[in-house]
């Protein structure tokens, strides 16, 4: 079984094909704005560590709690609480000044966000707020997003706007009541390509002004305006033969600091029997350096007050991040998952040009474990 044709020569499954022409056989809102039909509570614990050869840098232990609750009248409310405990040194940016930055620091961050979404037939409107607090940093944000589905429900448009206000009071007194304001605008589209394929593309423009420098880095002086344009495209395709989904994504990000980065990621979501799924993934990231990034050692001809940074995050480099994510779903709506990612970043791995010299390879790893329950 099955034969390639029935005795009278019609194709396999001819009746199914004929039945699909009946009205109401297929849900027309499979991807439309549907209210979540179950609540969810998830607890996750992240352990992050990064290091450079011969030196442990930063360690973060971060428990978080996520709750989603559908409410009457097609409302849903969701929120997250995060507590980060950080210890260690902030990254050592170049070998020649080893130890210049940071005696060991211990810090914490608490953050929370909440979002309320109202679902209409083809439209959803969400209003959110978020607060993040550290010893030297306070950030508050508000957001509004609107999603609109087309009548055939194969396409969804997303519009979003968010404002963020930050206050920076560095422990070392370099930054006192420094502020930064950012406005983000998002336009996105999600298109159902076929029963097994979906494509999403988002364009984000962000404009901000205020204090962008790193108060803990020597002479770090950055422009007081930053504009960022980011374009993210993702495609998911289900492969019935393997009972797996392949996920591809590409992100282009360009900002007024002069950095342009490209990120590509591929993941393979393999469904397995007994509620297991395994997702190996690989991400490649490459960026050029900011206009005002200077390779170590300290640049000759430096004029006091000019834009200057030696932050490795603004240098030219490439990074590879392999990862694996294992999920097990139990009966009664319980699930547990473990995610491992390891990242290695090196100036030699930059694509389309040489990387910034003089920087040691930087490694980081994430271990995240979580349990969740739908109710």
């Amino acid at each position: 079984m099955p034969a390639s044709a029935s005795p009278n020569g019609t194709p396999v499954g001819a009746l199914l094909a004929a039945a699909l022409a009946l009205p109401g056989m297929m849900a027309t809102v499979a991807h439309a704005e549907s209210v979540p039909d179950a609540g969810q509570i998830a607890f996750k614990y992240l352990d992050y560590r990064d290091w450079q050869p011969g030196a442990d840098r930063m360690r973060v232990k971060s428990p978080s709690l996520y709750i989603l609750k559908p409410l009457p009248d097609s409302f849903a409310v969701e929120g997250t609480l995060v507590y980060d405990g950080m210890s260690g040194a902030s990254p050592r940016y170049y070998n020649s000044l080893s130890g210049a930055s940071g005696q060991g620091v211990t810090d914490y961050r608490t953050a929370g966000d909440v979002k309320v979404t109202k679902y209409f037939e083809r439209v959803s409107v969400g209003i959110g707020g978020a607060v993040s607090s550290e010893r030297d940093y306070l950030s508050r944000a508000a957001s509004l997003d609107v999603r609109v589905s087309t009548p055939d429900n194969n396409r969804t448009w997303a519009f979003g706007i968010a404002g963020t206000g930050d206050v920076i009071n560095s422990v070392n007194g370099v930054a006192e009541n420094q502020r930064r304001h950012t406005l983000d605008v998002l336009l996105g589209v999600t298109q159902v390509w076929s029963a097994d394929a979906i494509v999403q593309s988002n364009l984000t423009y962000s404009t901000g002004h205020g204090y962008y420098s790193d108060p803990y880095k020597l002479l770090d002086t950055r422009p007081d305006r930053r504009r960022v344009l980011a374009w993210l495209t993702r495609a998911n395709r289900y492969l019935p033969t393997y009972d797996a989904t392949v996920q591809l994504s590409y992100r282009l990000l360009s900002d007024s600091f002069g950095t342009t980065s490209n990120t590509v990621e591929i993941a393979w979501v393999q469904a397995l029997p007994a509620g297991w799924s395994v997702t190996p993934s690989l991400r490649y990231y490459t960026q050029n350096s900011a206009d005002f990034y200077y390779n170590p050692p300290f640049p000759r001809g430096y004029v006091n007050g000019q834009h200057y940074t030696a932050d490795t995050r603004l240098s030219a480099f490439g990074a590879l991040t392999p990862g694996v994510w294992v999920i097990k779903r139990f009966a009664d709506g319980w699930s547990a998952d473990v995610k491992l990612e390891y990242s290695r970043q090196s100036s030699a791995w930059r694509l389309g040009g040489s990387g910034s010299p003089g920087i040691e390879t930087f490694s980081a790893r994430w271990i995240q474990a979580g349990i969740a329950k739908t109710f």
């Binding site: 009278n8 009746l15 039945a19 209210v35 039909d37 509620g275 709506g333």
Partner: protein, 300 residues
């Protein structure tokens, strides 16, 4: 999350919706909309109602053409496809045989050859004159009947309505025609028992349904026994005689309307059923005349 059950009666059968969701108000809205649609289809196509589409068409037999709407046209097209693929065995004009087969009569009797010939002369989907707007039964006394697909069609539509209300885990059961919307809330398939064709409340097999549908056609719904032979309501439109090869056939297919029509055709095809079912790409369980289970979905 909780499982909300909505039993109801429609189409002369005991029906039930099982909806798993965390939002009871939503479950109720979905169930109300789905049940309303089942009742709408029943009212529109019931041959027992004076104001139904079916009655209007049958009343016009031998007379003028009757106007049909898009939904009726779609059902007629599907019925026509079943007719063609079954070599004429699936025929929505074969309901006239009910006039000569009385399964409630005591003592029971087999119709005479003359009576069967008179009835089969009024059968013939191929003779029906129809286009996209109208339909006409050419001979007085002819009739059509959506009984072979209407309930299954209603089950599929009820499933779609649940999905459109955001219910991702649901089981629709219209008198044994079962359609799933997704698996159970924990991701495991629904377990649908297949009725034992000779024992009332017993199951002979089980089908695990993570999506799609299962429908059964059997010789036990309406029948009588005479001289050691069982005469059931599944009647061959050419001979007018009941199908005899299988006690029941259950078909697992993506849509309930496909499962139901395949099961009916398979019963009428008798020994040729396996080849037909395999060619339709469906899975199935048959119980043969000796009570043995057959087919790819049969228990091993």
């Amino acid at each position: 999350m909780a499982l909300y059950r909505y039993p109801f009666r429609a189409m002369a059968t005991d029906d039930e919706l099982q909806l798993a969701t965390g939002d009871e108000a939503r479950a109720r809205r979905a169930a109300e909309a789905a049940i309303a649609d089942v009742r709408r289809i029943e009212a529109k196509y019931s041959r027992y109602r004076d104001d139904s589409v079916t009655t209007a068409i049958n009343r016009g037999a031998g007379g003028a053409a009757v106007a049909i709407d898009d939904e009726t046209l779609a059902l007629l097209r599907y019925a026509g496809r079943c007719h063609r693929l079954s070599g004429g065995l699936f025929d929505i004009t074969s309901g006239v045989l009910r006039r000569v087969w009385d399964f409630k009569r005591t003592p029971p009797s087999v119709p005479t050859a003359a009576a069967l010939a008179a009835a089969t002369a009024l059968i013939g989907w191929g003779d029906v004159e129809w286009d996209e707007r109208t339909l006409r039964l050419p001979r007085a006394g002819m009739e059509i009947d959506f009984g072979g697909i209407g309930k299954e069609y209603a089950a599929d539509r009820a499933a779609t309505i649940c999905a459109e209300h955001g219910i991702m885990h649901a089981l629709v059961n219209l008198g044994g025609d079962v359609r799933a919307v997704g698996p159970q809330e924990d991701g495991t398939p629904w377990h649908v028992g297949i009725r034992h064709p000779r024992r009332d409340a017993a199951a002979i097999a089980e089908v695990a349904l993570a999506a799609g549908a299962v429908a059964t056609s059997g010789d036990y719904e309406r029948y009588f026994e005479l001289d050691g032979r069982r005469y059931c309501h599944l009647l061959n439109p050419r001979t007018g005689m009941p199908a005899a090869h299988w006690q029941s056939i259950s078909v697992v297919a993506p849509l309930c309307v496909v499962a139901g029509s395949c099961a009916t055709i398979a019963m009428l095809l008798e020994a040729e059923a396996p080849a037909f079912l395999d060619a339709q790409g469906v899975s199935w369980i048959g119980v043969d005349a000796q009570g043995r289970t057959k087919g790819p979905a049969a228990p091993r």
